[in-house]
């Protein structure tokens, strides 16, 4: 599902360099990227989903070299193939629950909001137990309900890949665990590959695989990256 070869990426304002000689994640796998906050985990997610372009190397998602797509194609590819769940879920306050789930259809002219997609949105809400909340403002939802809405939004267009960027970052341990269970459950139900970023090591056993993120970091000043990060 994801094939990364000889990837190199450097931050202009930091001493770290991301170097991944080879990384393969198979379809349907649930992988976790663990590491302390600020060490570059989100950067790797951004490289995989095409928000950032690598300095060198290949990032292939579902057979497409995403790093070499034109900007518009890359956005469309991301919207159609990759579901994103953000820290704090980033719901739009002025839209109701269903409006937030259907947001991907409203921001890309080539993805039209069809009755089928509306049905799909309602079906997803039913699956996560929010079917009766579809018209409710998201500001009136609990934290747990908000995370489920964010997940439904990520799953709307049947993505092959689900990227979750520290979705448990601001949650207590119980809610963190529930969120991960929900992510795993829904990604398995839809057959999507899941990569989640977290700094909470207690959650790692729940995933199929933990990616050795610290091994991907190198210091440009020659010191050991693992101890510094």
């Amino acid at each position: 599902m994801i094939a990364i070869r000889d990837l190199r990426f450097a931050w202009t304002d930091g001493p770290f360099q991301l170097q991944i000689p080879r990384l393969d994640i198979v379809r349907g796998e649930a992988a976790v990227l663990a590491g302390p906050s600020g060490c570059g985990k989100t950067t790797l997610l951004n490289l995989i989903c095409g928000i950032l372009s690598p300095a060198a190397g290949l990032v292939e998602v579902a057979g497409t070299d995403i790093g070499h797509l034109a900007d518009a194609d890359r956005r469309l590819f991301r919207l159609r193939n990759i579901g994103l769940v953000f820290q704090d879920f980033q719901l739009i306050d002025y839209l109701d629950v269903l409006g937030n789930v259907l947001l991907p259809c409203r921001i890309q002219p080539s993805v039209r909001l069809s009755p089928a997609l509306r049905e799909r949105g309602l079906e997803l809400l039913n699956q996560v137990g929010l079917g009766s909340f579809s018209q409710r403002p998201v500001t009136r939802l609990s934290q747990g309900e908000r995370q489920r809405v964010a997940l439904c939004r990520a799953l709307l267009l049947n993505p092959q890949l689900l990227l979750a960027d520290e979705p448990t970052g601001n949650l207590d341990p119980d809610n963190s665990r529930r969120m991960v269970e929900l992510l795993l459950q829904e990604s398995r139900r839809s057959g999507a590959t899941l990569i989640m970023v977290t700094h909470d090591h207690s959650l790692l056993p729940m995933f199929d695989r933990t990616l050795p993120f610290l091994q991907y970091l190198a210091r440009t000043d020659g010191t050991d990256a693992g101890t510094s990060a």
Binding site: L79, L95, L103
Partner: protein, 400 residues
């Protein structure tokens, strides 16, 4: 673009206080200069039309603007009057129709209804101004009057009712008494100051002024309640009772008793409208009065042009300040929108990361700005239409 407008509408509704504040601020910015310009244009065309339709005005020396305001709009009183002799002089000029005006009194104010000017004139005035009765007929007898459409509407008076004149000085016992006039008709509206006036004939106006009068028989034979005491039979010492009317009323019974003292040619007029048949007649008439110290003959279009040039300068001045205020308000609005966009940076970042292009984000923001502008423009247009129907009349009242 539908999605952009959908999101824009939802966002504006969600931030409704901010949206309303921006919309109303923008509406005022659009409305104020536009309405000022429209209103002044309307005022200019209305005032010019009345002036253009009145070739010459003859009146006592003094302010030219006051004379025009008085003879065309029945506002302001000239300090001195002219006489019927001057009217005769103008009327004797070849090819000139002279219309006398006597506008020194108003009708009595009622609660909530201000009095209207009483215009004493001759039937030529109705012909000159194309005034025809919508109901009833024009006054034919002493003590009769016809109402302008607006005054009839706001006073609720109709044909067959009576209307009282207001004395200029209630304490002047030897002066004018209120005259109760019979309303013989209501004029069709012609969207001019004539709509808010009461027209009567010159002789009735002179009766109101106290120049002409009738006699009410105050004796026991006609009505015992009229006489309080008459101690010496045959003597002139008579005390009237409370039943003696405190106003004059011209009826079929007493009409013949009304008469005027003095020489008619010396009776006062406040102005004379002169309508020359040709340009030559006009020039001749102007020449005839040009050397007079007792009279002035003026051309209302010229005077109004002078007045409008003052209004135009004021308009430019006001417009300049309005535009400066609008520029400042626009800067503030720009700041508000900029701060609003900054507050929504996380939302935009989310859309961007989901796959929204920067162009689409720009489109979303443009849709919001467009909706704000359209809403503001709609309110400004509605306000403009509202102002158009009232502001010109208001301005006319304020300026004239």
């Amino acid at each position: 673009m539908n999605s952009a407008f959908y999101l824009a509408v939802r966002s504006l509704c969600w931030h409704r206080s901010r949206s309303l504040a921006v919309i109303f601020s923008l509406a005022v910015i659009i409305w104020l200069p536009a309405t000022l310009r429209i209103t002044l244009n309307q005022f200019r065309s209305e005032i010019s039309a009345r002036a253009v339709s009145t070739p010459l005005v003859i009146g006592a020396p003094g302010s030219r603007i006051d004379l025009v305001m008085h003879s065309l709009y029945f506002r302001s009183q000239p300090a001195t009057t002219v006489t019927m002799a001057e009217h005769q002089l103008a009327a004797e000029s070849s090819g000139v129709t002279a219309v006398p005006l006597h506008v020194r009194f108003t009708t009595r104010s009622q609660p909530g209804v201000d009095g209207a000017p009483i215009v004493g004139t001759t039937p030529e005035y109705f012909t000159f101004r194309n005034l025809t009765p919508q109901s009833g007929e024009l006054p034919a007898l002493l003590g009769e009057c016809v109402l302008g459409a607006d005054y009839a509407e706001r006073s609720g008076l109709r044909t067959g009712d009576t209307v009282l004149s207001a004395p200029r000085n209630a304490l002047n016992l030897a002066g004018d008494y209120p005259l109760q006039m019979l309303i013989t008709g209501v004029l069709a509206r012609n969207h001019s100051p004539d709509d808010d006036a009461v027209f009567t004939d010159l002789r009735t106006a002179w009766v109101i002024e106290g120049i002409g009068h009738g006699h009410q028989n105050v004796d026991r034979q006609t009505d015992p309640t009229l006489l309080l005491s008459n101690e010496r039979e045959g003597a002139a010492s008579v005390t009237a009772g409370l039943a003696v009317l405190p106003y004059l009323e011209i009826t079929d019974q007493n009409r013949d008793s009304f008469h005027f003292h003095g020489n008619t040619s010396e009776f006062p007029l406040t102005a004379v409208l002169a309508v020359p048949a040709t340009e030559r007649d006009r020039v001749k008439l102007l020449g005839r009065f040009s050397g007079s110290r007792q009279l002035q003959c003026i051309s209302p279009p010229q005077v109004i042009e002078e007045l409008l040039s003052i209004v135009f300068r004021i308009e430019q001045f006001v417009l300049m300040f309005t535009l400066a205020a609008a520029a400042a308000a626009l800067l503030l609005l720009g700041l508000v929108l900029n701060l609003s966009l900054r507050l929504r940076a996380a939302e935009m970042q989310t859309m961007f990361r989901l796959g929204c292009s920067r162009l689409t984000i720009l489109r979303l923001q443009s849709a919001e700005v467009l909706l704000l502008l359209v809403s503001a423009a709609a309110i400004a247009v509605a306000g403009g239409l509202l102002a158009r129907s009232t502001a010109a009349a208001l301005l006319q009242q304020l300026l004239l």
